[in-house]
Structure formats: C-alpha cells, structure tokens
C-alpha cells in the first residue's frame, strides 16, 4: 500500500496512537501507587507543618501517626462546596484547605486559625505553579512566617481582612509584606485568601450552629 493513500495514513495514525497511548498508560499504571502515596505524604507533611505537630521520624507512617494522635478531620458542606476541616485536639486550632487562582494557575494550601477565627496560626501551600524565583517564593519560610500571628480584621471589608503588600498603616496587625518582583501573585493571594476566609467563616458558623457547638463572632 502506498504511504500517501488515505487508508494508510489513517491506519498508521491509529496504530501509532494506540502504541504510544498504551505506553503512557503503562507508565502511569506502573507508578500509580507511588503517585497516590506521594500525594498523601505531601498532604500529611503540610498538615503537620501547618499545626506544628511533633513528628517522630520522616516516614509516611510517622506523619500519619502524628495526625491521628492530634488532629480530627470533619467534612462540612456549605452551599454545595465541601470543606475539609482539621481541628487540633489540644489547642482547638482549626484548619481548612483553601484554593484560588494565582498569576499562572491554581494555588492551594492549608490555613490554620485560632478556634475563634481571630488569628492566623500558620499557612502552608499544597500546590502552586507560580514563576520559579518570583511568585513561587510564596512557599519560602520568610514569606510564610509573616502570617504567623496575623490578626484577621473581621471588621474590615472582605478584601482587606488580610493585606499582602503595601497598606496605609505599614504596621497593621493584619498585613504581611508582598514578594518583590511578584506583585501579581501577591495580589492574587490576598484576593483569594480573603474570599476563602469569608466563605469558610460562613461555612463553619452554619456547621457549629448545626452541631450545637460554640458560635463564632457574629457576621457583620
């Protein structure tokens, strides 16, 4: 058969797509368990880091044990969205998974707050694809450390409760420095963190009312 005939071209494409598709599927299947384990380990590491849990070792089991011993997990649903809520047994600190659109792609992470939601205990990122060396520096210790102890200004408008970058009062208790050269990532982070905080507070308020637990500060 001539290599220029439509039947040959169609057959060739079908064969090559099948062969390479099978190749990729095989590699994916062979590494599937590793990928699942890696994802779980990464998430557990982040949870331990955000709640500052003591971990005896670096194995996956050590991280899982630290979480089992000190953290309870609940899933609550509010307006169709499911929230994973982590609660530290001894301190009552509460954590949730946030996500939003960064400069390039989605950024997700876990934020831990005090039990009355007034103070940020810690923040850690699960996934981000910002510019290496610039926006990707949101994962660096110096940037994350700024959030520890930041007060959430619930009396301010929704988009100003946590400020990332310049503010009229540079010493404000709800402000952290932005990243030089990554203004768009910093602004995006501020935007979706505030939006997620607002949604989470509404979700947790409803959940606490339902479960007859303590009521968070009233909504303005």
């Amino acid at each position: 058969m001539k290599t220029t005939s439509p039947a040959y071209i169609l057959g060739f494409m079908l064969a090559i797509c099948t062969a390479f598709g099978t190749g990729i599927a095989s590699v994916h299947y062979a590494t599937l368990n590793m990928l699942i384990k890696n994802e779980k380990l990464h998430k557990n590491r982040i949870i331990c880091r955000v709640f500052n849990l003591p971990v005896a070792g670096v194995s996956a089991d050590a991280f899982q044990k630290a979480i089992n011993d000190t953290i309870t997990r609940e899933q609550i649903t509010y307006q169709g969205r499911a929230w994973d809520v982590y609660k530290q047994k001894d301190t009552g600190n509460i954590g949730f998974i946030f996500s939003g659109t960064g400069f390039w792609d989605r950024i997700s992470g876990i934020m831990a707050l005090s039990s009355d939601l007034s103070k940020v205990i810690n923040i850690q990122f699960l996934d981000q694809k910002e510019t290496p060396g610039l926006g990707a520096r949101i994962e660096e210790g110096w940037f994350i450390d700024q959030f520890k102890g930041v007060l959430v200004a619930w009396d301010q408008p929704v988009d100003k409760r946590i400020i990332v970058g310049p503010a009229p009062n540079p010493n404000a208790k709800n402000r952290v420095d932005a990243i030089t050269g990554a203004t768009q990532t910093s602004l995006a982070l501020m935007r979706f963190l505030n939006s997620e905080l607002e949604s989470f507070r509404k979700a947790i308020k409803e959940w606490r009312e339902k479960t007859m637990l303590e009521i968070p500060p009233p909504l303005e």
Partner: protein
C-alpha cells in the same frame, strides 16, 4: 552525507551547538536558568526526550507518511515528555512541584523537533539516538553555564546553597532572576562562543 559518531557528537556539543549556533530552544533557556536545580532536571528531561524521540522517529522514518510527518513527530515527542513527567512526579515529587510546569514545555522545544526533522528522519536509528544525546548535552552545557551565573547573581545561592557571608557583601540583582537577565546572559554567551570558541567555516 554520512556522519560518523564522533562528528555527530562534536557537532551536537560544540560546532553545531543547538543554542549558540542553531539558536534553538531559546524559550526554555530564558525560562529555567534562574535556578540551577531546575535547569538540571530540565536538561535531564530534554536529553531523555531528544534521544528517544530521535531513535523512534528514525526507526519509523520509512513508514511515516511524508504529509503527516510533523504531526507524528509531535505525537511521539509528546508521549515521551508525558512519560518523563510521570516518572519525575513519581520518583522525585518535591522536584516535580518546582519544575512541573516546565516539563510540559519540553514538547514545544525547537531542538527536539529540529533534530527529528533535520537528522532523525534521514539517518539510521543508533546514529540518531547519538545525535539526540549530543544535542541534549550541548543544550545542557550552555544552560548549566548560564544558570551558574544567574543564580548566584540573582539570589546569592548556588544549587540552593547560600554563598559564604552573602548578606555582608552581596546585594541580589533582581534582573538576573527575570527574563531580561537571561537575555543578557544568553547574548553575552553567544557572542563569546561565536567569537572565540567556534571555528567559523570559511567558504
């Protein structure tokens, strides 16, 4: 023209280097060279993909219909890149979190397509494999050199390790972290390479 493995190797690495002679693969050179660790994994991915895609395309060269050869080449290249992506994600997930976005970009790297079209589609499989490795190594050497300058100047680190007493004597050049810094370095390196390293062919 028949090539010997030695010629192929010298061409890929030195005389016909993809970066400063063929001016291919410039996008990734600008994008990943602000950190040496990212550069190294990008280079690994590119060498793997160039070598195997060259080998496969050469193996199939007599069967690939001419009219759709570029579609087939892109398909083969994409499959190898996806495999590299999955393997890095499974074996070194922490590194993958940093360079994941760039691994996908290997598909659009002109060197792979360029070598597939210019060499692999006209030469024997083993020689094509060798050409892929040589081109990948030639690309890698240039990227590693540029990253070795950009990272210390931009961050005051090398492979993530802080330079001695950096805070006392060094102020980071933000421009070296950003794409203009890569343009300056690439232009400077290309000029030096073409001026002193490469013997121009005079005809």
């Amino acid at each position: 023209m028949a090539y010997t493995p030695k010629q192929v190797f010298l061409n890929g690495i030195w005389l016909d280097n993809p970066i400063y002679r063929q001016v291919l693969g410039i996008c990734s050179t600008l994008a990943v060279t602000n950190l040496l660790a990212n550069t190294l994994f990008m280079c690994f991915g590119l060498i793997f993909t160039t070598a195997l895609s060259n080998f496969t395309i050469s193996l199939l060269r007599d069967y690939i219909p001419k009219r759709i050869r570029m579609i087939v080449q892109v398909l083969i290249i994409s499959c190898y890149v996806m495999m590299v992506d999955i393997i890095i994600k499974a074996l070194v997930p922490d590194i993958h979190r940093f360079i994941g976005p760039y691994v996908g970009l290997i598909i659009t790297n002109c060197i792979i397509m360029g070598r597939a079209e210019a060499f692999a589609s006209q030469n024997k499989p083993l020689l094509s494999l060798f050409d892929g490795v040589a081109s990948g190594v030639g690309y890698s050497l240039v990227l590693i050199l540029i990253a070795s300058v950009r990272e210390p100047l931009g961050f005051g680190t090398l492979l993530g390790m802080t330079l001695p007493a950096r805070d006392q004597w060094w102020h980071s050049w933000i421009i070296m972290v950003m794409p203009p810094g890569a343009f300056f370095m690439l232009g400077l390196f290309t000029w030096l390479a073409r001026r002193w390293l490469v013997r121009e062919v005079k005809s």
